[in-house]
């Protein structure tokens, strides 16, 4: 009994005290005590000082010097609005290929490439075959046009399937024949690749293609095997005229890898800092910037995320920038013409030791997802940087 009384008394007592206390975590009382120990501790004017708006004298964008594999996970092909997309598939010999002996004879090879992009359906696509090992991460696409293109026609026998197909006669396609002839099911490191192009609008193809191989064994048996592509990718790049025009504007693109660059005149920042004795830290610095969507290959998905960073180095190649900047800023989303807020204090603090006169703000789009990458270009305008200094006391 006594235990119960004690127990419930304890609970009731604590609950009563809690309920009566009006507990308030924000402790604003006692400033006199703090001031008497350190008068500057509550003196806002000695701790916060707004900096003059930073001058931003230049804006441009930088493109990649060569086209790279950046569309991993999806595949596009076609030409539109001065942009060209090329994609490729890679087939790797797999367990579904049963050819045992080199003496087995390839009879025919049929390739199926399908699409669900009915909006950009064309009668034919152009397919180039090539084979190299190892698989290139950075494919100089122009150099693989050395093979003549084959036109793959849309199979009209089944309107709902949307399959481009072509049967490659073994004698007519020396490259594929030479690969498959010298290959058995054990050659799992062997690849066969196709580059896809399109003379019409950019079409989104499915991420896997199928190769159907018919061969005759030494026992005169006919066998048909199927290999599904194990890799696909694509690039989208600007033609020369568009590239030259885009270089002059702060444009970012998720697929061509174009990055916007703004020149920041930091001399005003440092002189501002020098004028205010003790204010040696950039507590906060925010850039307000307008962005608008210039182009989107897929109008159903008009959002894009972006990253940004500030460096004292001027990169002339977007690849160099990608490799040199480890830390990116916070991602945001562009949804048409709007204003974005970029927090830049983290980057500016790293420059307070070296105090460079000029720094560069880089912005880049990033893909929303690997599976459904859209090609987007964003124009960035009218940046303004405001900030506040503090001291380290």
């Amino acid at each position: 009994m006594i235990k119960k009384i004690l127990y419930y008394s304890l609970i009731a007592g604590v609950a009563l005290l809690n309920s009566c206390s009006g507990i308030n975590e924000s402790a604003t009382l006692g400033s006199d005590i703090v001031v008497s120990s350190d008068p500057t501790r509550t003196d806002f004017s000695s701790i916060f000082s707004f900096l003059d708006t930073l001058a931003i004298p230049g804006q441009a964008s930088i493109a990649k010097t060569y086209d790279t594999v950046i569309g991993y996970g999806s595949i596009r092909a076609g030409i539109t609005s001065n942009r060209e997309a090329r994609g490729w598939y890679a087939f790797q010999i797999s367990s579904t290929y049963r050819k045992k002996h080199l003496a087995d004879t390839i009879v025919s090879v049929q390739l199926h490439i399908s699409t669900s992009d009915t909006a950009h359906l064309t009668d034919q696509i152009q397919v180039f075959d090539y084979y190299t090992n190892p698989l290139p991460n950075a494919a100089p696409l122009d150099s693989i046009y050395k093979f003549a293109a084959l036109n793959y026609s849309l199979d009209t026998t089944d309107d709902s399937a949307h399959i481009y197909r072509d049967t490659l006669n073994a004698a007519g396609r020396s490259s594929i024949n030479s690969i498959l002839k010298d290959t058995t099911k054990k050659d799992s490191t062997t690849y066969y690749r196709l580059l896809i192009s399109n003379k019409d609008s950019i079409i989104l193809l499915t991420t896997t293609a199928r190769m159907i191989i018919k061969y005759k064994t030494t026992a005169n048996a006919f066998i048909t095997d199927s290999i599904t592509s194990s890799y696909c990718s694509h690039v989208i790049f600007e033609n020369e005229a568009l590239c030259t025009a885009n270089n002059l504007q702060a444009i970012t693109s998720s697929e061509t890898g174009r990055r916007a660059v703004f020149t920041l005149d930091l001399s005003s920042l440092w002189s501002d800092m020098n004028k205010r004795t003790g204010f040696t830290t950039v507590l906060a610095a925010t850039m307000i910037i307008e962005d608008s969507l210039l182009y989107a290959s897929d109008t159903t998905d008009s959002t894009v995320s972006f990253r940004y960073c500030i460096s004292s180095t001027l990169f002339t190649d977007a690849n160099e920038l990608r490799d040199s900047i480890v830390t990116y800023g916070i991602s945001g989303t562009v949804t048409g013409t709007t204003k974005d807020t970029l927090h830049t204090e983290t980057f500016l603090r790293t420059l307070t030791e070296s105090k460079p006169q000029t720094a560069y703000l880089y912005i880049s789009n990033i893909s929303n997802s690997l599976e459904n990458t859209t090609c987007e270009e964003t124009l960035w305008r009218n940046p303004v940087i405001t900030g506040v200094f503090t001291n380290n006391q």
Partner: protein, 404 residues
């Protein structure tokens, strides 16, 4: 079993509400925070007196010589729930704090060789939280600037001690203690609005010190006198500074550090088996405190005075009613703070509730007090503490020599 879960959940929920940081803004000026008067359950509601009280549940908490009274294995623990009410110029802010203050064990040695004790206790609390705001407009945009301080830490220690009874003349005791001091203070600056960022400037001081405590208790008829003293040896403290999460230099990063010694005198008088009265007088020598990191001119030696009385309606009855064996206690205490202009006083009221089956006892205490500093006349700190002491004891062996 189900009831146990439900009760535990209720208690846990209530406790979680209590785990907000309590604070004393006045303690901003005290180098080790608010001193906590270490006490085991029976002395809580006697105004924390106990230097000259012989009670095995007190362990070493008030006087190491009390270990000489230990004839059975005992343990004591104290949990405290504190509400602190800050008042300034008609404004009020309430903080709460829940913390375990003491865990103590004492074990008798065979053949009247005395007793040894072990304890863990919290000696001071440095928690405080403060912030102030300002709204400014720049280029037509409104911003909120905020400055704040958060401090946590305090002194905790463990002790091991030995107590011995010199016939009926006196009891003596000596302890070794290892003291841990941690002070983490973060000054933060924050701006919100279009600009939004915060900077945390944190200092963390850590030190460990060795100390000794000694005491004597002399009983004479119904009167008992006692003296207890504590001394800390000098040591080195380290301080680290970081801005946000980046470590930055602080000079000096190491410095000599020495905690303040103290001395307490106590007296108690057993008027009748029903009535006991006790009083303590303590001195803390803050002029002996030293920190190489800061100037300590404002510190001053402090005294604390406490007194209390206990009443048991029928301590000697063979078949008493339960309320007749409850220990009714009341006490009052006054303590100067480490700066000469500040002090606190408090009154206590409590009960010792014996658990008859096994000689254990639960102490309940409620304390109300105020802390003021004459330099800040419009600022006061009121505190209400609800404390529970859980004490148990058992003889682990029967002395031989019993004849029938």
């Amino acid at each position: 079993m189900k009831n146990t879960y439900i009760r535990s959940a209720i208690l846990l929920t209530i406790t979680s509400f209590s785990l907000l940081s309590a604070q004393s803004m006045l303690a901003y000026k005290y180098p080790t925070g608010i001193p906590l008067t270490s006490s085991a359950g029976p002395s809580l509601s006697l105004g924390r007196t106990g230097v000259a009280i012989q009670n095995d549940f007190l362990g070493m908490s008030k006087n190491p010589a009390n270990l000489g009274t230990v004839q059975r294995s005992v343990f004591s623990s104290v949990l405290s729930y504190d509400l602190v009410n800050l008042r300034s110029n008609g404004e009020r802010s309430t903080q709460s704090f829940f913390n375990p203050q003491l865990l103590s064990f004492a074990f008798p040695l065979k053949a009247s060789f005395g007793a040894i004790g072990l304890s863990l206790e919290q000696r001071s609390n440095m928690a405080l939280s403060f912030n102030t705001k300002n709204t400014v407009s720049y280029n037509g945009v409104n911003y909120t600037e905020m400055l704040g301080i958060k401090r946590s830490g305090g002194i905790s220690c463990w002790q091991i001690g030995y107590g011995y009874t010199i016939k009926k003349l006196a009891r003596i005791g000596l302890t070794y203690e290892r003291v841990y001091l941690r002070n983490r203070t973060t000054n933060y600056k924050k701006v919100t609005g279009l600009l939004e960022s915060m900077q945390n400037d944190s200092f963390e001081l850590e030190t460990q010190a060795n100390g000794i405590r000694g005491g004597i208790i002399v009983p004479y008829k119904k009167f008992t006198g006692g003296i207890s003293g504590e001394y800390f040896f000098g040591n080195t403290a380290k301080i680290e500074r970081s801005i946000n999460t980046t470590s930055t230099s602080f000079t000096p990063s190491e410095a000599d550090y020495k905690l303040a010694p103290s001395l307490s005198f106590g007296a108690s008088y057993q008027f009748t088996p029903e009535w006991l009265a006790a009083a303590d007088l303590g001195v803390t020598l803050w002029d002996r405190y030293y920190s190489g990191f800061e100037t300590n001119d404002q510190l001053d030696n402090t005294i604390n005075i406490s007194g209390g009385a206990q009443f048991i309606p029928a301590p000697t009855l063979l078949a008493p009613k339960y309320y007749e064996i409850i220990q009714y206690r009341a006490g009052v205490r006054y303590a100067q703070m480490p700066v000469s202009t500040a002090a606190e006083w408090a009154v206590d009221l409590g009960f010792g509730l014996p658990l008859q089956q096994n000689g254990s006892m639960i102490d309940l205490n409620i304390e109300y007090g105020r802390r003021t500093d004459s330099n800040y006349e419009k600022f006061t700190e009121e505190f209400i503490s609800l404390q529970i002491g859980i004490n148990g004891g058992r003889k682990w062996y029967q002395t031989s020599g019993t004849s029938y």
